[in-house]
């Protein structure tokens, strides 16, 4: 038997906490990787997966240190190397692909400069040879315009492009081991699929050994031969990808898998009140000066109309930049719309905050994505909750205390938390406090802006359960903004798909279960990784679209046209698409007839 390429044995890493005590963050971890194989380290935040991955490069973050065990690459013991020896290894024989390429690229230098830097630093190639190799890698990784893209600066490129460029930077020296540290977590699903394809084919073609760190089992299923499941620094389970996916032995692995597939919840019985709680008509909003036709200089939302009944959840889905958060801001009055009306309970709301009365403020509450920054770190949980109680309901003293206890109980938080600062709380607890604060106002409508996106899967799933319970028991309506279509489909009654500020697809949840839908909806659904190993199609991730004639003035055309796999020359490049009502109940913004759409999801899946 040949010795394994990478062997980690009894690895133990300790970290210094703020109060001076030590904490074991990696506890006696052992695994090995054969040459050319891909091993995935999977777990939630705090599982030690990134710490282990970095230790393969001989790197520990400040405050942590390796206290025991060994890390071997071939026959070299990495923990025994000095700085100079490590330096000659890093970016040369072992390469690293960081989680957020947008942050891991130096903003003030060109991409090409940074991509070829490892090759120059290790004196493997001269600059012209390195640049030629980089251009070849750009092409292989499916980057547009490989010859020129290197001249750009990071801020001029998209997240998906930067992530591919980071892979090119890792591959430039032809390393024998690559560490991928959550490389697609920050990307939209539609972008992730192409990046995953590019990574996989690059690693397979070169026969590189790789470690893939992720929290997402479905993503890992596409990339890895073996999976190591981690929790709180310990290995819970290790095995081949097939075995972990189909016959998980550990309870924790099963919890992870269950959380990744949210169970659909049902709403209250159809209320047949004629008057919806929230009604939005022809909402157009954006930034900058509004012209005579009521269109702002930088339009973000275009002519949105929808309504929401009491106790219903409307899911709003789209990729980053589609205008999801702007919609919440416009309804809440933080951004006065340029055109259109927002009606709450039949009454038209004043556009901005200035005209709204206290009761209108109370009725609509926002819960923001990042509870870390939404909660004042100088206040205790009790103070945070008492503020809206006093402001909206005049509650003080023992009455307020009783209500705080009730709210904590309602959000499944221990009552003792009231005196604690929110900086002491975990991510999930902070988001519950954030939610409790919205509930304290006694709202009719809660706008949830990506409330589970910053949380681990298991913690996020518990928050979703809580939301479903709140609407069931208190009859609160919610607008649930997310980029994750499987979450939205699980808890929402109606779904609206936003693309570049247009509602391209809207209808009841049931309408999304089967085709036809808008080509963009199909693309979104087809991009969500499934928990099977053969889901990701081969290729470098650059997909060929039907050719289209010269697109002259894209402002007056379908906004999805440049990316649409179903576009038709002569129809889609002529005029703005019409609203179309499909038999399944959803209304879409598309030129294609219902029978033409029917095949498009299969088309998207076959890609």
């Amino acid at each position: 038997m040949t010795p394994a390429h990478v062997t980690v044995a009894g690895l133990t890493i300790e970290a210094q906490t703020d109060d001076g005590s030590t904490l074991v963050i990696v506890d006696d971890v052992s695994f090995s990787i054969e040459k050319g194989q891909v091993l995935a380290l999977i777990g939630e935040s705090g599982s030690g997966k990134t710490t282990i991955a970095l230790s393969l490069l001989g790197h520990v973050r400040p405050g942590a240190r390796i206290v025991g065990g060994s890390v071997r690459l071939g026959d070299q013991e990495i923990t025994a190397l000095d700085m100079a020896q490590l330096r000659s290894l890093r970016g040369n024989r072992i390469a690293y692909v960081a989680q957020s390429a947008a942050a891991a690229f130096n903003p003030s230098r060109t991409v090409m400069d940074q991509v070829i830097e490892p090759a120059l630093a290790h004196r493997i190639m001269q600059r012209p040879a390195a640049q030629a190799k980089a251009v070849a890698l750009f092409g292989a990784l499916g980057l547009p315009n490989p010859g020129k893209i290197g001249e750009r600066y990071p801020h001029q490129l998209s997240g998906g492009q930067l992530q591919r460029l980071m892979a090119a930077m890792a591959l430039i020296t032809g390393p024998e081991l690559i560490i991928f540290d959550e490389p697609t977590t920050a990307l939209d699903v539609t972008t992730q699929i192409g990046v995953l394809q590019a990574f996989r084919s690059a690693v397979r073609d070169l026969g590189t050994t790789a470690v893939y760190v992720s929290h997402d089992l479905a993503v890992v299923a596409q990339m890895a031969d073996h999976i190591v499941v981690l929790n709180k620094g310990r290995i819970r389970e290790a095995g081949t990808t097939d075995q972990i996916l189909h016959a998980p032995r550990d309870d924790y692995t099963r919890t992870l898998m269950a959380a990744a597939r949210p169970v659909p919840t049902t709403g209250p019985a159809e209320s047949d009140t004629a008057r919806p709680l929230l009604q939005v008509d022809g909402l157009t909003a954006g930034y900058g000066k509004v012209d005579a036709r009521g269109v702002p200089a930088i339009p973000v939302l275009h002519d949105l109309s929808f309504s929401l009944q009491r106790g219903e959840i409307l899911g709003v889905i789209g990729e980053s930049g589609s205008g999801k958060s702007t919609l919440a801001r416009a309804i809440a009055g933080l951004l006065p719309p340029a055109r259109g009306a927002v009606r709450l309970d039949g009454r038209t709301l004043p556009p901005g905050l200035a005209g709204r009365c206290r009761d209108q403020f109370r009725q609509i509450q926002i819960v923001f994505q990042n509870a870390d920054v939404a909660l004042n770190p100088a206040h205790s949980v009790g103070e945070i909750l008492r503020r809206p109680l006093a402001f909206y309901h005049g509650l003080r003293g023992t009455a307020a205390d009783a209500r705080v206890a009730e709210l904590l109980d309602r959000t499944r938080l221990p009552g003792t938390l009231a005196d604690r600062r929110c900086t002491d709380l975990s991510g999930g607890q902070k988001q519950r406090v954030n939610l409790a604060r919205a509930l304290a106002a006694g709202p009719d409508l809660i706008l949830c802006d990506e409330v589970t996106s910053a949380l681990d899967t298991v913690v996020g799933a518990a928050i979703l359960d809580l939301l479903a319970e709140l609407r069931q028991e208190l009859g609160i309506a919610m607008m649930f903004i997310s980029h994750d279509i499987s979450t939205v489909r699980a808890i929402c009654d109606d779904v609206m798909v936003l693309y570049a500020g247009h509602a391209v697809d809207q209808g009841p949840r049931s309408a999304y279960a089967a085709p036809p839908s808008h080509p963009y909806t199909d693309m979104l659904i087809a991009s969500v990784p499934e928990m099977r190993t053969d889901w990701l199609p081969d290729g470098a991730g650059a997909l060929a679209l039907p050719p289209i004639g010269g697109i002259d003035d894209s402002a007056a055309l379908c906004s999805f046209l440049p990316r649409c796999p179903s576009r038709i020359t002569g129809r889609c490049d002529r005029a703005f698409p019409p609203h179309r009502q499909l038999l399944s109940g959803n209304a879409i913004l598309c030129h294609l007839e219902e029978h033409e759409l029917r095949g498009s999801r299969q088309h998207a899946e076959a890609r």
């Binding site: 000659s88 970016g91 891991a104 690229f105 130096n106 903003p107 230098r109 830097e117 630093a121 801020h155």
Partner: protein
């Protein structure tokens, strides 16, 4: 480091427009400052006529001299005359020396600029090295030692530093002259001798702030993910600092330096006085004592212009170093 100044033509044009706008704004600022300077100098008790004639002068004599000097005209007339003269390059005539102000200043300004330049030459590299060294050893022994050293430099008043220097190097060791008078045909040795102490004293004053700002700017960048990425690419610490951290930290560093440099011209008064150095700051103080308003106003305008120029340079450097501002 690759040249960051490879902006396209649109970027260059944007910077040109920005600089033009800033220069326009600088003139507005200068005008407002001239108003304030004029108003304040008008508020000073007494005037040049009174100072020139002394205590024993009769009111009639003072009034006569006042008329001769043009001091009895209303304030707005005097301001109008002064500002139009200034715009045409004529700063007026000194009321005391009876010479054109421009001529007096042209004797002193080169001295001040020379002192400032030598101080910058010594203090900027020193501050950069101290700042980067302490940032790289954050929390370590060297960082703490440098921290204490720079703090005590800030805390020491410059007259104390200058006086101690004179005491040690001139009185006891007799190495350096206590008065800095540079002869016209001075050689390098003489130049060094006469500048060593004033430059040293000023360096102590300005280096601490620049070093601390450099440290803060570098530390801020060291925590960024791209620094860890550079480390994991196998770059040496030196390469990381020079080619990754500094291009991003240069904006705040240059700003701190420009602020410190602007101090070197007008703020050097104590050092100029102690070493009897014929610079602009002591000229301005003399102008205040003798109520020589045209001279005082001209000095104030020069200090203000230099300050605005340094700030403009700092902003342009910050923009050139940041591709997001350069090409956006």
């Amino acid at each position: 480091m690759a040249s960051p100044i490879s902006a396209g033509s649109s970027g260059t044009r944007k910077i040109a427009i920005m600089i033009a706008g800033r220069i326009g704004l600088a003139f507005v600022t200068l005008f407002l400052v001239s108003l304030i300077v004029f108003a304040i100098s008008d508020l000073l008790p007494g005037d040049a006529a009174q100072e020139a004639l002394g205590q024993s002068a009769t009111p009639a004599q003072v009034a006569a001299l006042r008329h001769e000097m043009g001091l009895d005209r209303p304030a707005h007339v005097r301001f109008g005359g002064w500002i139009t003269g200034l715009a045409g390059g004529d700063a007026g005539t000194s009321l005391v020396a009876n010479m054109p102000v421009g001529e007096i200043i042209s004797q002193r300004l080169p001295n001040s600029l020379l002192l400032a330049a030598f101080t910058a030459l010594v203090s900027v590299p020193l501050a950069l090295s101290i700042g980067i060294a302490s940032a790289m050893n954050r929390g370590g022994r060297l960082d703490r030692a440098l921290n204490i050293a720079t703090l005590s430099m800030v805390a020491l008043p410059e007259f104390l530093v200058a006086t101690l220097a004179v005491l040690i190097f001139s009185v006891h060791l007799r190495w350096l002259p206590s008065i800095s008078m540079v002869p016209e045909d001075a050689g390098w040795g003489e130049m060094f001798q006469s500048f060593a102490m004033p430059v040293g004293a000023l360096t102590v004053v300005v280096v601490a702030q620049m070093a601390r700002m450099t440290r803060a700017a570098v530390v801020d960048q060291l925590d960024r993910p791209y620094v860890e990425m550079a480390l994991l690419k196998g770059l040496s610490r030196r390469a990381i600092i020079v080619s990754h951290v500094l291009p991003n930290a240069v904006g705040p560093i240059v700003n701190a330096m420009a602020l410190s440099m602007s101090y070197l011209l007008g703020g050097a008064i104590i050092v100029e006085t102690i070493f009897n150095y014929p610079g602009l700051a002591s000229l301005m103080v003399n102008a205040v004592t003798s109520r020589d308003m045209p001279l005082l106003q001209a000095c104030a305008m020069i200090f203000c212009s230099v300050y605005l120029l340094l700030m403009l340079i700092a902003d342009v450097v910050a923009i050139l170093a940041n591709p997001r501002l350069r090409t956006a």
